[in-house]
Amino acid sequence: MTNQQESQGSSSTRSAASEANDIPPIKAIKLRHPFRWIFAAIIVAYAAAFVVDAAINRPVYDWPTFGKFIFDKRISEAALVTLELTVLSMVLAVVLGILLAVMRLSPNPIFKSVAWFYLWFFRGTPVYVQLVFWGLLATVYPVIFLGLPFAPPLLEFPTADVPVFWIAVIGLGMNEAAYMAEIVRAGIMSVDKGQEEASTALGMSWTQSMTQVVLPQAMRVIIPPTGNEVISMLKTTSLVAAVPFSLDLYMRSRDIAAPIFKPIPLLLVASAWYLLFTSILMVGQYYLEKRFSRGATGMKLTRKQIREAAANQEESDD
C-alpha cells in the first residue's frame, strides 16, 4: 500500500522534472558560516591544549600509577561490589516502587496515605543523611523484632548482625523506591482508563486488572526513565561511605590511595570504571528505548511479534 503510494509519488515528480528539464537549475554561492568554524577551532584548540597539558605538564595525575591500578584486582573486585549494590538496590526499589505506586492509586485511603507519607519522607530528606541514619540503626534499635505489634515477637535478632552491605542496599533501595514509585505511577496513569473498566466489566478483580492489563501496558512508559535511574544509582552507590560501607569502588580506591599518598590517580581509576559501566548501561538503555517506542498507535511490537504477525498474514493470504 505504502509502496504503491510512494512509487506513484515519485513517478509524478519525475514527469514534472522532465517537463522542467530546460529550466536551468539555480547556481548560487553557498552561504558561508565563518563564525561556526572559528568557534569550533577555538574549542578544539582548548581541548587539545587541555589534553596535552594533562599528559605532560601535570605530574599529579600520575598516569603511570593510573596504569598500575586500573586493572588492580582490588579495584575490579570493588567495581563488582558497586555493580552488586546497584543491581540489588534497584531490584528492591522497583519492587517497592510498584507496590507504593499501586497503593497510591488504590481506592483504599489507608494504603493511599501510607504511600504518600513514604514518598514525602524519603524524597524530602537527602540520601546521604538517610544512609548515615541506616548506619546508626543498630544504635537506635539494637534488636529487631519481627511479629505483631504489642504481641510477643516471632523472631528477634541483633541489628548489628545485619551485614553492612545489606544495610547499604536497604538504604539505597528504600530511597530510590520513592522515585521509582512516581515513575511507575506516571506509567500506570498513562494507560487509558477504559482498560481498567473493560477488565472490571469482564469480572476481573482490581488486582487482576492491575497485574494483567494495566501494568504490562504501563511498562512502555516505565522502562526508559528506569534506565536513567539505574545509571544514576550506579553513581549514588559511592555515597555508601556514609553507612559506613567501604568495599565499593569509590571507598576502595580512596583506601588504596591513602597509604601511598596518591589520591588523584586513584580517583581517575574509579572514574574510568564508573564511565565504563555507565557507557554499557547507556547502550543498553538505547536499545530498550528503541524497543519500547516502536510501532504507531498505542501498541509497540517487538521484532518477534512483527515476525509472527507477518507469518500469520501470509498464512491467511494463501
Binding site: G194, A198, T200, L202, Q217, A309
Partner: protein, 269 residues
Amino acid sequence: MTENKIITELVDVPGKSEFMVKAERVVKSYGQNTVLKDINIEVKRGEVMCLVGPSGSGKSTFLRCINHLESIDGGRLYVDGEIVGYRQKGEKLYELKPKEAAAQRRDIGMVFQRFNLFPHMTVLENVTHAPIKVRKQNKAKAIERAKELIDRVGLSAKLNSYPAQLSGGQQQRVAIARALAMEPKLMLFDEPTSALDPELVGEVLDVMKALAKSGMTMVVVTHEMGFAKEVGDSLVFMDGGVVVEAGDPRQVLDNPQHERTKAFLSKVF
C-alpha cells in the same frame, strides 16, 4: 400475572425472573448532580432494548449501573431477579464484597464506544483471557470456544493480530467476541458504532443483529435509528435523567408523542 410468570419460568426459562433487567425508581447522583432521576425500565428475557437520548442524558451512566461499574443511590436495580451490587437480608441491604460483585459482572457482557481491547494481547488472547483467568476454564477449551466466536464475527484470519493492526470495525467485532466468551446472559452496548467510520458501521451492526436473532438479551445505547427499528423490541427515550417516552421502536420513532422526543429525533435525522 403470577400464573403467567410461573408458566414462563417452567416452560423455557432456566433463570429466576421474567425480567432480565428491572429498574425501579433508580436514582444516581455525582455529588450535587443527579444524573438519573426515578428511572423505571424493564427488559424481558431475550428482548433487545434500545436506549436513545441526547448527550448527557444519563444513558451510559444507566448502563454502568446495570453491571455495577457505578452504584446507585436510590431505588432498586435487578438483573435476572438479583439485586445489583447488594444482598438483601430481611429489610436490610448489604453491600457485596468486591469478589461477589465481580461474580455478578461476569454474567453481563459490555461493549464500549472506544472498544477498549487489550492492546498488548493478540485477538485470540483478548478473547481467551477472561475465560481462562476469571472463569478458570481449561485453556484448550477456551481457545477452541474463542476461535468459534472469532469465526462468528468473521475474523478468523486475524487470530494472532494485535488490536492496533485492525480497523475500528474489526476491533469492535473482537470486543463483542471477547464479551461473548464469558457466556453472558445479558449484553450491554454503549454506542458501539459511534467511534467508527460510516463504512464500518454496517459490519458491527450485522454482528449485533445476528446476536439478537440468537436470542441474546441486549440493552443498546445507539443513535442508529435504522437498527432500532429493525432489531429493537422496545425503545426508551431518555432526557435529563428521566425516561421521557418508551414503547415499540417503530411507533416511538415514527410517531413520537412528546415534544422533547420530537425535538431530538428531528436533530438526529
